[in-house]
């Protein structure tokens, strides 16, 4: 025993990054626990997805049924409830995503099992499974131990680890859906794509991105001038879009866009991990923030601890001068 059951996540026919990222964590835990990794793919018409997951050299269990054409938390909970009884894994792992958060806590309550949300790492030491969490605006880590249980439930933070490369081929085993009929009380209606604005920030070469530190929209002209000087597009953190300073389609982060520009200037962005997950693939990151403890500095290449309003106008002037 000691198997790790990883629930892969996919949407609109595509596996999401978190599914691969969990392949960096699950094998080491399985090894320590003396079990193996099994990947569960639930959906409809998922042969390709199952095969792709099997390329991590793991056994894939595919539950392929029309009932799972679209994600539905209630159906997932029912299916997993039955599968846990059946497979008895030591750990059930999935992503702390809009999908994972929508059913894992309910499943934990239903099955009366220990649950840790949003681990950034998991380890098995001296017979105890322990998760590391990152709390209080990313400034504190917490070690949380699972008490002994049939199955420990855990979700993994998106972007906490890098996805490994696929290693070897594995098998795909099809399993009948434990769920036999549709449920009437929760219906999937539709997906609504985010409105597309005039700029697609995922394609931008240079991004000037602002956060809560902008304070108010009257401060935008300074930012616009900097952006103009270096031919950058303007983006923002969730705080900046929630406040209405920046259009929603220019939000960088897990609930917005993942961007990979050549240069990312983070101004007054503290760097909540949801934001970091969306921009840490940028080639060069510059961060300006007055809080020296701001997590954004952990991913920055160049850092300035100061008031952005003192630095930005001067930076714009100098850049204009240097670029002639």
């Amino acid at each position: 025993m000691g198997d790790i059951l990883v629930l892969a996540e996919h949407r609109q026919g595509v596996l999401r990054d978190i599914s691969f990222e969990m392949m960096a964590i699950a094998p080491k835990v399985a090894e320590a626990m003396g079990g193996e990794v099994k990947v569960l793919v639930i959906g409809s018409g998922i042969d390709e997805l199952a095969k792709k997951m099997s390329e991590y050299g793991v056994k894939v269990i595919a539950v392929d049924d029309q009932l799972f054409e679209d994600f539905n938390a209630e159906k997932y909970q029912k299916a997993l409830s039955a599968l846990l009884d059946d497979l008895k894994p030591a750990v059930l792992m999935t992503g702390q995503t809009a999908q994972g958060v929508d059913f894992m806590p309910a499943l934990a309550v239903e099955k009366n099992l220990p649950y840790v949300a949003e681990a950034i790492d998991i380890n098995y030491e001296d017979g105890t499974l322990k998760a590391t969490r990152n709390i209080y605006s990313g400034k504190v880590n917490a070690t949380v131990a699972f008490k002994p249980a049939d199955t420990c439930l855990v979700t993994i933070r998106e972007g906490a680890v890098e996805a490994p490369e696929p290693a070897a081929s594995g098998d795909v085993e099809k399993m009948d859906s434990p769920l036999k009929e549709d449920i009437p009380y929760r219906k999937f209606v539709e997906y609504i794509e985010a409105e597309v604005g005039d700029v697609d920030i995922t394609q931008s070469e240079i991004l000037v991105s602002v956060g809560r530190g902008l304070k108010e929209d009257k401060n935008l002209p300074d930012i616009e001038e900097l952006a103009k000087a270096i031919k950058a597009d303007i983006a923002g953190s969730r705080a900046a879009t929630d406040a209405g300073w920046i259009p929603h389609d220019r939000q960088v982060g897990t609930s917005g866009k993942t961007v990979k520009p050549k240069l990312y200037l983070a101004l007054g962005i503290s760097g909540a991990f949801q934001h970091l997950a969306g921009m840490k693939g940028a080639k060069t990151i510059v961060a300006v923030n007055k809080d020296p403890e701001a997590p954004i500095f952990a991913v920055a290449d160049y850092a300035i601890v100061d008031d952005m309003f003192k630095v930005v106008p001067a930076l714009t002037e100098k850049l204009k001068e240097l670029k002639g």
């Binding site: 949407r11 994600f71 938390a73 209630e74 809009a98 958060v101 929508d102 806590p105 934990a108 309550v109 220990p114 649950y115 949300a117 949003e118 709390i135 209080y136 605006s137 400034k139 504190v140 917490a142 070690t143 949380v144 131990a145 699972f146 008490k147 249980a149 998106e158 009380y185 219906k187 999937f188 997906y191 609504i192 985010a194 240079i206 270096i230 969730r238 879009t241 897990t254 609930s255 917005g256 866009k257 050549k262 240069l263 510059v286 961060a287 403890e293 997590p295 500095f297 952990a298 290449d301 160049y302 850092a303 601890v305 100061d306 003192k310 630095v311 930005v312 930076l315 100098k318 850049l319």
Partner: protein, 262 residues
């Protein structure tokens, strides 16, 4: 519509220095400012907007200390009708499933159509309480909701997925929705409103009052153990640019141009 909105009083650590206490399990909160959890603030506004649109009542439910009453009075000043504050130091605060169990205990005798919570807590970011609460209550739920449409006997919730995609789901009422920030623009609670809200009913209750067995929601009852807290080492490879603001700007401008980055 009868709505219950669950809110939490949390420290603002976004710009504060955070220190772990010698017990290794708590942080020194003596220098923090506290306020309603950000997402919960949007949940309050959404509940009041629905009341203004559809009529009905809004109850506030919170677990927290006496000091948190200012937050509760503010919610009442905005339009919530009455409140229950659970104060009991036997609750395992680190475990969102047990927190949800307490909330469920407080709601078991109550009639409601909707229960709102914030979709995540600024302190521990579990994103678990609301969904666990729905399970305890045996009602439908949807998490990370950024638009709510109340229909006849149903609610249509727009869930915000990664990448800005919205997943629209329809739930039969009653239901628990966990509310995402940005769903609305929370209003200001004027002091006169807060003073008038002093007249509204605010019940302070313990686990015993709720009929919740403390042994079932205590630290011992939790299936997870908070072993320790620590400040992570920041592995920053960043080059910190020093000097007066203008010097910093000049150095950075030079790095960016010389490096061919702009």
């Amino acid at each position: 519509m009868k709505t219950v909105v669950c809110i939490k009083y949390v420290p603002d650590t976004s710009e504060a220095e955070v220190k772990v206490n010698p017990d290794g399990k708590t942080v020194d909160d003596s220098r923090f400012s506290f306020d309603i959890n950000d997402a919960d603030n949007y949940a309050v506004e959404e509940s009041v907007l629905i009341k203004e649109d559809k009529g009905g009542e809004v109850d506030v439910l919170s677990i927290g200390p006496k000091q948190s009453e200012v937050m509760i009075r503010m919610a009442m000043a905005k339009g919530c009708d009455r409140a229950t504050r659970v104060e009991d130091d036997r609750i395992a605060e680190h475990d969102p499933l047990l927190v949800a169990k307490v909330l469920a205990g407080a709601l078991k005798e109550k009639e409601f159509d909707l229960v709102f919570t914030g979709c995540w807590g600024d302190d521990f970011n579990h994103m678990s309480t609301g969904v666990a609460l729905a399970e305890y209550l045996g009602v439908n739920h949807a998490s990370m909701v950024k638009k709510v449409e109340v229909l006849d006997g149903k609610v249509r919730a727009h869930r915000e997925l990664e990448g800005g995609l919205m997943e629209v789901v329809e739930l039969e009422l009653p239901a628990v929705l966990t509310i995402q920030t940005g769903i609305n623009e929370p209003r200001y609670a004027p002091i006169r409103g807060i003073r008038q809200a002093q007249k509204k009913e605010l019940n302070v209750v313990s686990l015993d009052d709720l009929g919740v067995d403390p042994a079932e929601v205590s630290v011992d009852a939790s299936q997870v153990v908070l072993e320790n807290l620590y400040i992570p080492e920041v592995e920053s490879a960043a080059e910190f640019i020093e000097g007066e603001p203008e010097e910093k700007a000049e150095k950075l401008a030079s790095i960016l141009t010389k490096g061919g980055l702009v």
